[in-house]
């Protein structure tokens, strides 16, 4: 039908046409709607996509920037290859190792091409094979972690740690390879260096032990030998051995110190210390060396140095001794002087300044810069024969630097040197190091001919603020002494006999103090002494009524207590060390068991309860560490084993050793060679306090369980007498009785000897009287007897006969005073019933003590003998024994004991 022909169209046809058009229209409208909907979605989509793309692009750019930064700055060699082995990107560090200008030159190159063309030494054969294998295996490295890691060394000896990482996509598709090579050469070198350092430290620790162990034996044996009553020549030999041993120890310590410095193990450990102890120690150590050298040694210590400071006193002592030793070594003639003062910068701190001056050879200006370097010694020809490791000043400088101090030297060749050390210190107690009590009440008479001594004494007294007057003649001294204007008189010791010869015994209230050179024999055994060098601390002590060696704070006596109830175990695999240790501990009167190994020690402790154990560190089979661990393990069933103090004995004194032993179960450690002072400190610290007793000469013992007061007797220093006889009042009283009884006899014997002009016998009797008088504290009588004895020895009969009557008269007066106190003594004296076993044991020990000249044991055992009650027949024999003891006639005392021990008593 032709729709344009409307003439013949029917209604039905028209309807159909309309319907078709309608449907067509619907479809078109629907299509249009669909298109419009799609347009709307597309527009929104486009906007969204643009925003997303921008965001993703920004993120991508950021990541690319980070990647670029990483690749530029990363020190590792990073290669990224695709699965066709083509290089995509890499780190800038590749340029240096492959010797190329730009890493981008490699883009597009295959792995093999890079290896061939830029091989250099980076790609070893093994590395190439591994990378190729991963490419061939499509990422299968044969490794569960899918990373192949190994270390290779290239031809330039660089060490690389290589990681070959296959790149696997999410869908398990192999996409390429990461090759990351880290240069670990410096790390390896550092590890080697650290290993060497550790080896060096281990070597040093071993050597320290190996060298110190025999040194401990040498020095310990020497110390024990000195305690024996050796002949003079033998004593000198032993002294030389000690000296040599100590020198060797010094050199060893120097070497260990320098090693500590090199390995950074040197540590400064500040602690509170008394300055006077430090200075006294230094001077006491250096004095013998100065004495040997014939140099004049002067000391000037400012009185206002604070008494207690805080610093590493051990190292400060080392510093001063190092410099002083050098001064003595390099000074042939003239002097060495030590000046110390405090430069206080605030109330709580200041600089301790030490100046050491000598008149020695001097140091060239050019060499002054180098003197603090290691192993440096100058003018080897001139200084040939001077011992030393060449490390002393280097160590000193390091120590001073470690304390934030400074050290410098001034010198002139041929004239001498001045070394100045400045050490910042914290002030703990600002009280002056030396001051004289009631100094205004003192006035000192000085008679000294030695200019250096006069100068030192006057300078010292000036600093102490004490008045003085110097005389230059015997007459002037006598006049001063008898004027009673002076509290003290300082007299050159060699002038003593001159005075005595001129005036005899002089009555005076002035206390005479002899000024003696160190090592001099003294004319009077019981008078006060000031030994050179003269300086403020001992001078103040003497003027305050103490002995010159008293320090202001509590003095560290070597043996400060006894512990007869304590039981100790000492473990060491070397018998000599066991003997040395036991010998050094003998004065403490402890019961000591010795074992030579860790296993034996454990067996011993399993069946014995010890109060303290000394355990050597290094022993074969079972060492101290292992033995201690086993003992502590036993503590799980018995708390005693967990708590018993165990002290490590070790020759290893490197840094950190204390902490090492504490961690290993020890409670403390004692270095070898054993220092007596340190031993005392350790024993004092770890022996239970209830087992510690005062030393015999301080102990008060009363059979009535009461502390008795000592009698006051005119002419007798009873306190001194008590201390000299063991410290027990009862025993002293008994001694006085014996002295009294014997005194009268002595008067008769002396007179008889003089009447028969038997000077030799006279000397014998007067000597015995001198000794007995000194022993009970009759100081004046003892001094007078001493003078008469000297006169006898000098065959000065005129003096004897002129003075003997006065002497005997004075002696009789003294005996009278004692006699008036006797009834008090006799009334108080009580005896307990005899215990034969105790008596026999005590006599046996006493005999050994007499034979060993062990004064302390003699006194102690004598006291015990007194406590044991005797019947009348034995009392007389015991009295006789005590008299022999008092007179120093030990051979007779031994015979007396033999008689007593034969059982002639009921």
């Amino acid at each position: 039908m032709d729709i344009h022909d409307h003439s013949n169209i029917s209604y039905e046809e028209l309807l159909h046409l309309y319907s078709s058009l309608e449907i067509e229209n619907k479809k078109l409208k629907r299509e249009l709607r669909t298109i419009l909907k799609r347009q709307d979605i597309n527009k929104l989509n486009n906007d969204t996509q643009m925003g997303l793309n921008r965001t993703i692009l920004n993120e991508k750019q950021t990541q690319e920037t980070y990647l670029r930064m990483l690749l530029v700055s990363c020190p590792d060699l990073i290669f990224i290859f695709n699965k066709e082995t083509v290089f995509l990107v890499g780190s800038k560090s590749i340029e240096k190792h492959l010797d190329i200008d730009d890493v981008n030159m490699l883009i597009g190159c295959t792995f093999n091409h890079i290896v061939e063309k830029f091989s250099s030494s980076v790609f070893t054969k093994e590395l190439v094979e591994q990378v190729e294998r991963i490419f061939i295996e499509n990422g299968d490295s044969g490794n569960n972690d899918n990373i192949y890691e190994f270390v290779e060394i290239d031809n330039d000896n660089h060490k690389f740690k290589c990681d070959i990482v296959p790149i696997i996509r999410k869908n398990d598709e192999f996409a390429g390879v990461f090759l990351i090579m880290s240069d670990i050469t410096s790390v390896v070198r550092k590890e080697i260096a650290e290993q060497e350092s550790r080896s060096k430290s281990n070597f040093l620790a071993r050597m320290s032990h190996e060298l110190r162990t025999p040194l401990n034996a040498i020095l310990g044996m020497a110390e024990l030998s000195i305690r024996e009553n050796l002949p003079k020549v033998a004593a000198e030999y032993v002294s030389a051995i000690t000296q040599a041993g100590e020198n060797l120890l010094d050199i060893l310590n120097d070497i260990l110190d320098i090693s500590k410095i090199e390995t950074g193990q040197l540590e400064i450990i500040p602690e509170e210390y008394t300055v006077s102890s430090l200075i006294n120690d230094v001077i006491n150590i250096i004095k013998p060396r100065v004495l040997d050298s014939q140099l004049c040694f002067t000391v000037d210590i400012n009185c206002d140095i604070p008494s207690v400071l805080k610093g590493d006193v051990k190292r400060i002592r080392q510093i001063i001794l190092n410099v002083l030793s050098n001064a003595v070594k390099y000074t042939d003639k003239g002097y060495v002087s030590l000046l110390t003062y405090m430069d206080e910068s605030s109330e709580n701190s200041g600089n301790l300044v030490i100046k050491i001056e000598d008149s020695g050879k001097g140091i060239k200006k050019d060499d002054l810069e180098l003197i603090f370097e290691e192993y440096t010694r100058f003018d080897m020809i001139k200084n040939k024969g001077i011992e030393g490791s060449g490390l002393g000043l280097a160590i000193t400088k390091n120590l001073v630097n470690a304390m934030n101090g400074e050290i410098y030297a001034q010198s002139e060749v041929g004239k001498g040197s001045i070394f100045t050390v400045v050490l910042p210190q914290e002030i703990i107690n600002s009280e002056n190091i030396a001051q004289v009590n009631n100094r205004d009440s003192h006035n000192v008479l000085i008679y000294e001919r030695r200019e250096i001594c006069i100068s030192s004494i006057e300078q010292t007294l000036n600093k102490l603020g004490v008045r003085y007057n110097s005389v230059s003649s015997v007459e002037g001294f006598h006049e001063g002494l008898t004027s009673n204007k002076y509290s003290y008189a300082f007299l050159e010791s060699s002038l003593f006999y001159t005075i005595k010869s001129a005036y005899g015994f002089i009555e005076t209230n002035t206390t005479v103090v002899l000024v003696a050179e160190f090592g001099d024999l003294l004319p009077l055994r019981s008078t006060r002494v000031l030994t050179t060098p003269i300086y403020s601390i001992p001078t103040a002590n003497v003027l305050n009524g103490y002995s010159e060696n008293t320090s202001k704070s509590s003095a560290k006596t070597k043996i400060s207590f006894k512990a007869p109830g304590a039981k100790l175990l000492v473990v060491d695999d070397i018998n000599t060390n066991l003997f040395v240790a036991k010998g050094l501990m003998q004065p403490y009167e402890m019961e000591i068991d010795l074992k030579s190994g860790g296993a034996e020690a454990i067996e011993a402790i399993s069946s014995n309860r010890y109060d303290l154990i000394f355990m050597d560190h290094m022993m074969p089979k079972m060492d101290g560490i292992e033995a201690t661990a086993i003992i502590r393990e036993m503590g799980k069933t018995d708390p005693y084993y967990a708590k018993v103090p165990i002290i490590a004995l070790t020759a290893n004194t490197l840094y950190g050793v204390r902490e090492y032993f504490i961690e290993s179960g020890f409670d403390d450690f004692l270095p070898k060679p054993i220092d007596i002072g340190l031993l005392n400190e350790v024993l004092k610290k770890w022996i239970p306090e209830e087992l510690q007793e005062e030393p015999v000469n301080n102990r008060q013992l009363s059979t009535n369980n009461k502390t008795e007061e000592v009698l006051q007797i005119t002419g007798i220093n009873t306190k001194r007498g008590l201390s000299l006889t063991g410290g027990i009042v009862e025993h002293y009283n008994k001694t006085l009785l014996i002295y009294l009884d014997d005194g009268y006899k002595k008067i008769e014997e002396i007179r008889s000897a003089l009447e028969s002009n038997d000077i030799s016998l006279f000397i014998t009797y007067i000597h015995a009287l001198r000794s007995a008088s000194a022993g009970v504290g009759a100081e004046k009588i003892s001094a007078a007897a001493d003078t008469l004895e000297q006169a006898g020895l000098e065959k000065n009969e005129e003096y004897i006969y002129t003075n003997i009557e006065k002497f005997l008269k004075d002696f009789e007066a003294l005996l009278k005073n004692i006699s008036e106190s006797v009834h008090v003594i006799r009334d108080k004296h009580n005896k307990t019933p005899i215990d034969k076993d105790a008596l026999n044991k005590t006599l046996h020990k006493l005999k050994t003590a007499f034979e060993d000249f062990d004064i302390d044991s003699i006194n102690k055992l004598s006291n015990e003998l007194e406590i044991i009650s005797l019947n009348t027949s034995l009392e007389e024999e015991i009295n006789r024994l005590m008299l022999y003891k008092l007179n120093g006639e030990y051979d007779k005392a031994v015979l007396q004991i033999d008689e007593l021990s034969e059982g002639r008593f009921s």
């Binding site: 909907k37 979605i41 929104l44 989509n45 925003g51």
Partner: protein, 388 residues
């Protein structure tokens, strides 16, 4: 025993032809058993043309479903298509129902409808097929899932929110036996010998780019502020996207991370309120961090393929109902691959597995079923597959 078939027609205008096409395909593919139900998906044009009404009236079983933007079946893919997925069985009962308007109270409406539909059946169904309307400004798919979880605790829910082919989703409807609605929810209760299995394919969370964004004010599926900035302004600043952004998948890293089950929680903003708040397809907690996910053609198609491969590898499969988020297609449209996923599904699914796939406005599917208890979730930007 269960038998399935999927049939289609593109005839919008001629209802008779459309019904004939449906019926003849059904006759060819399937013999209806005692109990039968049909799931219908179609372009809204089929509703406007009253074709849906006519077809539903001409079939001897209940037909329920939703409008969609596109479909794929064993035989056809298209945008202007009506597809029907028919399930028939002797030992499975298919009970259909429809709620009243959900706008007032989702739970009460659903409960009332369930009670009406399930009267005469004891016990819980083995499966719930649900087809909610697209009313995100009133409620999100999460609230619907929660409501059904309360009514049918532990029962697997599978379904899709209605969608359409507009930019504003303003023409989508639910369909219940030929009757379309903007706010009611039809559903199918499956009782008996049915053993449903589920597959979820979604975007890879590893691809997330942090937006340095934290939700600072939100209620349910409405996000008012991000980083204390009004949501619209935030997205404009951070992404440079104008107000009405669509199809941007955001990975939600929420503080509570409930019911994670290894499936990332992805949300997309479907619209913006007048005040600038973002309306999302699911609830977002305050404190949640937002990451932008990669959603290009490669990621969409590869994840779809993974899901489809899982389907192919399953045994005893009678049929599969597949819903794919409309945003996946919109993203593909941006790269001129609008039909790519549809084609992929048609080409990949094994010929002996009857299936129907349609675009979804929100996918409802359990993340897992453990000890007979289903952990249901409302998904976005995902492809979910019901395997029966």
């Amino acid at each position: 025993m269960l038998k399935c078939a999927s049939v289609y027609t593109c005839e919008i205008d001629d209802h008779v032809i459309a019904l004939d096409e449906i019926k003849s395909q059904l006759d060819d593919k399937i013999k209806l058993l005692k109990n039968t139900v049909g799931v219908i998906m179609c372009n809204p044009e089929f509703i406007y043309g009253e074709t849906v009404e006519y077809i539903c009236a001409g079939l001897p079983f209940d037909v329920i479903g939703i409008t969609t933007s596109s479909q794929s079946t064993n035989d056809e893919i298209g945008e202007l298509t009506l597809t029907l997925f028919v399930m028939t069985s002797d030992d499975i009962q298919f009970v259909t129902g429809v709620t009243e308007s959900l706008i007032t109270d989702i739970y009460e409406s659903a409960k009332k409808a369930y009670e009406t539909a399930s009267a005469g059946h004891s016990g819980l169904p083995q499966l719930l097929l649900v087809f909610p309307p697209f009313l995100l400004e009133q409620f999100s798919g999460d609230l619907l899932v929660e409501a059904w979880d309360r009514i049918l605790p532990g029962v697997p829910q599978f379904g899709s929110l209605a969608i359409d082919d507009t930019a504003t989703f303003s023409e989508c409807s639910t369909i219940y036996n030929g009757k379309d609605s903007r706010d009611t929810m039809p559903f199918i209760l499956c009782y008996g010998n049915i053993k449903p299995r589920f597959i979820i394919a979604t975007l890879d969370e590893v691809s997330g780019i942090s937006l340095r964004a934290e939700v600072t004010k939100a209620k349910d599926n409405i996000v008012y502020e991000i980083n204390n900035i009004v949501t619209r302004d935030f997205f404009m600043e951070s992404l440079g996207i104008p107000e009405s952004m669509i199809s941007i998948p955001l990975l939600i890293d929420s503080p509570s991370a409930n019911n994670y089950d290894g499936i990332p929680v992805i949300r997309e903003q479907s619209s913006v309120t007048a005040e600038g708040a973002g309306v999302f397809g699911g609830n977002i907690e305050v404190g949640s961090k937002l990451l932008l996910l990669k959603a290009d053609d490669e990621s969409i198609l590869s994840t779809s393929l993974q899901g489809l491969m899982k389907l192919n590898n399953m045994e005893d499969v009678n049929g599969a109902l597949i819903f794919s988020c409309v945003s996946r297609r919109i993203m593909l449209m941006g790269v001129n691959k609008s039909m790519a996923e549809l084609q992929l599904v048609k080409d990949t699914v094994k010929p002996d597995i009857p299936f129907m796939m349609g675009g979804s406005g929100g996918e409802i599917c359990p993340t897992s079923v453990r000890d007979g208890v289903a952990f249901n979730r409302n998904h976005e930007y995902s492809m979910v597959i019901l395997v029966v």
